[in-house]
Symmetry: D2
Subunit: 358 residues, 4 copies
């Protein structure tokens, strides 16, 4: 089984972050020792230097760039450079060493005591994964966030005993390769890519989130659903309802977990998720997020939702505008409209029931 | 001379925030007493209620909505409701009472002790103006930020003795009515508005910021400058240079203060600012930001820059993409290209000197 | 009239902080230019160096030591050194430059954008005075807090236009020379000093705060009041009542402002304040905190109350234990017990009324 | 094997916290369901009410009091009440629900998204244990900190899947019953207790930390070592050296982990630790902190060190003053002085070597 470190190196490769910078200490050794030959580690003898080099590399390449910092004082030393990166919208990804999990709370030597608070004021996102298996996913989120507009530095603290733990594929499903497009979906070339993807779908399904609960949202999502002949779900326990529940295409809410959600998409080759979290689970279940053969693209205006989505490619931008443009650009479908009328959802404290009337 | 309160009420009117919610205490009385008849104050008897009503109003109207909270405990009571507003991307603007400035640092009764730290984790922006005359500007920024994508709550703390202080028009120039468009500039209807504005300009000028320092940025800004026949400045003390300094249209940097910057724009009816702060002053000078008859529109991907710009209307979105679309949509100009070749800038510790060679 | 800078230099002299360290930038020039000859400024060419020297000086001398840091990036660069100072309980006082107040909220070049948030995780106290006249008082508080147990670094941000503003003596009264004893009052030598001070009082008065609202607190404060023959007030709008309201010595609450509070102490040469804020004003009034000829000593377990007290010397430690030790060590008084019985307080929304029954 | 919940209930019993308050949600159910009959849970129908009841209970009893809060919005709702508790120095212990660890980073429904940042400004300590087995220890630290002067609220977030995990006794050794005395050690009755404990020791050992690295510290710790005839260690990798390395009693540093440290204390029935962390480990090793039959008492001025010590009872207060008082109150020892002269320590990157010269 791959280790956390294996999975992290794959995340870095996916983002082209093979060249990185740092000033090492013991808490980073499990990550740094025996680095594969496709990675280059460039040493700076104070974190000001290492983080500034990473900042320059990020500006020159336009790509997120990693800087490996030593626990607490190392992060502290780098903070002036992170302020500069913040002002320059430079996507510097600081990876900070932490003591082993067993010793963090007794404030052992080299504990990174305030990983969530120390970097405040300089970074867009500061996190320490709540368990080892989440390290690749959290680093992946951080990289996406660093790139997304307005770009800027982020910070992830990793306990030193996490690196060599096994990374279960069922956990890894949260870290599947995903593309989050930093260009707005409304950029003509980005939109063309989305349009091609949707046009190629044989049997698409829609999921709409609370962001569509506006007059404009209802108009454009119903138009899109009708143009696609697609069934529509809203997400689970939504703050608000982004689609008219009386519309024939309406199918109720997604499920509270991965199996019940994935089951709904059987037979659909593409899920188009607009303005919602992907997915707003309530219960953890070790299962795939989508049926085999189903893919997902989402559009959201919230960079954090884009970064934390558990599956699929994501476009940043206003979902209502994306729906409008899609509806007007797509040809009329030859697909039959979804059969039957779905009555408004009856919530229960068990799984949501969908009542279908013929 | 108008008071701070007068200026704040005008800011609220500008944003259509005449209906607001609250649970009052003594620190808010100078703001609330004798409210003009075009304002409605709706009372909630705990801040949970008042802030939740404001959240509902913001969701239902799609507009930023004010909630007036009592100092410290009042803000604390509202924080559960602010968490909900954050999750729902609801633009709730919390205005929190603070003791009189003379008593804040002795921790007098009703001091809002941690106005910058207490709301962390729920709001996009937390501020307390560093002097009374800045209250209208800071509230204006907060309102813009609350609306801009991803929308969400913001928080401004106002010392109770600020409300009846005079608000000098020279300070108020930072609070001029401005439109910040929450729609992306790449939304076709928003872009059409920007295009009309630029097309109508008789003699436009360009300012480009560090965000354009990419291959794509250089290509599209030079194309736009040539299409417009417009001179180009970069902003003052830029992190990076967003325009080729050897290009004939290049004119050097803006000045370090309002008078030296405004002077450069004499004769231009429109300044188009792309990917820069408006303006990155170093020195305060009580003077207009633009010459009489000059207007400004800006495009930036950074909501904070959009909200804190001191003058002009602003479009959110990628400035390079906006330049590309403008350059391709504008007709060729009949204007002469800017005369002369401007040598690369020589920095001095005095005002920047521009060396022109014929 | 003295300037803010004059008053700050006096605060530094009072604490023996004539030698300090820094790496200067333009925002600090108004403070640093033409430094009086009794001050030594030791230059470090990066803030890591300057702050580390200050840390070493503080450890070697046992005294709070100033480091002058440049705005935002300067503070950032110093943060690794501040982490070290925090771990070593070293009283480093970081004084950080800030733009002029007029430009802070437009995020001008050199703005210290997050003075309250950036230093979080490393300092005990981070502040930016809400007006120029408070700078000396806030710096004084910061120095006291840095020294008090557990000692550690603090941070104060000062707008560059504050330094040359006039500092009104009525504001300066918040900055009167005060001693805050870092030793616990229960240290035998510290207690001896307090005991001497109380024993020497001709006609002392007591103020007791919410911290004495325990069985132990009531027992020891009543014993002390009786031993001293002293009248007893509780502080204004207290969370809880630290003295039995039916006791003959009880006199009600202090006033909501300086004049009404000071008036109560007429004829008393010493006020002994136990476990309360000094003073918990509600209303600002430019007047002395005590009548001429009256002095004050306080005992509190809260370092922040000790540091922010507006007048008098302060001992850190448990006020109930201090009362117990004082009561047992003081000789019986020859003073008459306070005359008359004071009825329990009737609160009104006007000033507190004291109802005296003969 | 006991579960995390079993261990937490024992921690609560130890502190007499059997009555607690709350407003439940699903994330707290694993903790609350089937509560043992010696616990009383008092329901409040909004967190403002539950937290205010806990505050009142803490004030009335003088004991730390638990309030169980629902994830994120529940904590938000309680924050006004926590502000009140903070002002009143009331030791309210907020226990906040969190999603299951697997779902936290995908921001699932009911995720407590900012457990370290949301409560800032109201609490002395905010934590989320980095693994399930640390929950009892972190809660124990939080309770100690809430009580220690200046008392005030604290906040601990617990993932819902932690409650029923097994709690290994080797982890539990970090949670052994410990007393941390909130009274200063300089309080005569507290000091008497410490004196009795030290006087009763058959063969005590001393550990001194960086806080003793002052003239006063050296004087009093050498006097104490000589009076006790005790060997002296300094802690591992100390910032500074709190004992003269040339003194015959000096024995070098403790070890970097539990086994190497415990081994040094073989044959000593009592370790007296002054002004140091207990213990400053660098490496985790699942072993007891002390040999069988050895106990430990510590004196520190740092409440956080008192709360996070891994073993032994702790007195708050100045360690140098405690050493002075102990040295003067203890009888001369009949024990032989520690044999041999220990040469100054030679640091290596392996375990510290102690060179003994006869």
């Amino acid at each position: 089984m791959p280790t956390v470190r294996d999975a992290v190196l794959d995340v870095l490769r996916l983002h082209g972050m093979n060249t990185f910078f740092g000033n090492p200490g013991s808490t980073e050794i499990p990550f740094l020792a025996d680095l594969p030959s496709d990675f280059s580690y460039i040493l700076g003898l104070n974190e000001v230097v290492a983080a500034s080099m990473a900042d320059g590399h990020a500006r020159a390449t336009g790509r997120p760039t990693l800087v490996s910092l030593h626990s607490t004082v190392g992060l502290g030393n780098a903070m002036g450079a992170l302020v500069n990166a913040q002002h320059a919208h430079s996507p510097v990804v600081a990876l900070v060493g932490q003591q082993t999990r067993a010793l963090v709370h007794s404030r052992a030597v080299l504990t990174n005591e305030h990983p969530h608070v120390l970097p405040l004021g300089t970074v867009k996102f500061a996190a320490e994964p709540v368990r080892a298996a989440r390290v690749p996913a959290v680093l992946s989120q951080a990289i996406h966030l660093a790139r997304l507009s307005p770009a800027g530095p982020v910070c992830v603290s990793v306990p030193m005993d996490d690196w060599h733990r096994e990374c279960d594929p069922l956990d890894a499903r949260y870290t599947l390769p995903r593309h989050v497009f930093a260009d707005s979906v409304l950029n003509p070339s980005a939109f063309a890519r989305l349009l091609d993807r949707v046009r190629a779908a044989r049997n698409p399904a829609l999921v709409v989130g609370p962001a569509l609960d506006t007059e404009e949202g209802y108009r454009h999502t119903t138009a899109l659903a009708e143009r696609l002949g697609a069934p529509v779900w809203i997400d689970w326990l939504p703050d608000r309802c982004g689609f008219p529940t009386g519309h024939p295409a309406f199918r109720g809410t997604l499920g509270p977990d991965a199996p019940s959600t994935a089951a709904l998409f059987t037979g659909h080759d593409l899920v188009v998720a607009l303005g919602c979290r992907v997915f707003r689970y309530f219960v953890d279940a070790p299962a795939p997020h989508l049926p085999a053969g189903t893919e997902l693209v989402s559009v959201t205006a919230d960079p954090q939702d884009a970064a934390t989505a558990v599956v699929g490619d994501c476009y940043l931008g206003a979902p209502a505008a994306a729906a409008e443009l899609l509806a007007s650009a797509l040809p009329a479908t030859a697909r039959a409209a979804p059969g039957g009328r779905v009555l408004p959802l009856a919530y229960t404290d068990a799984a949501p029931r969908l009542l279908t009337a013929d």
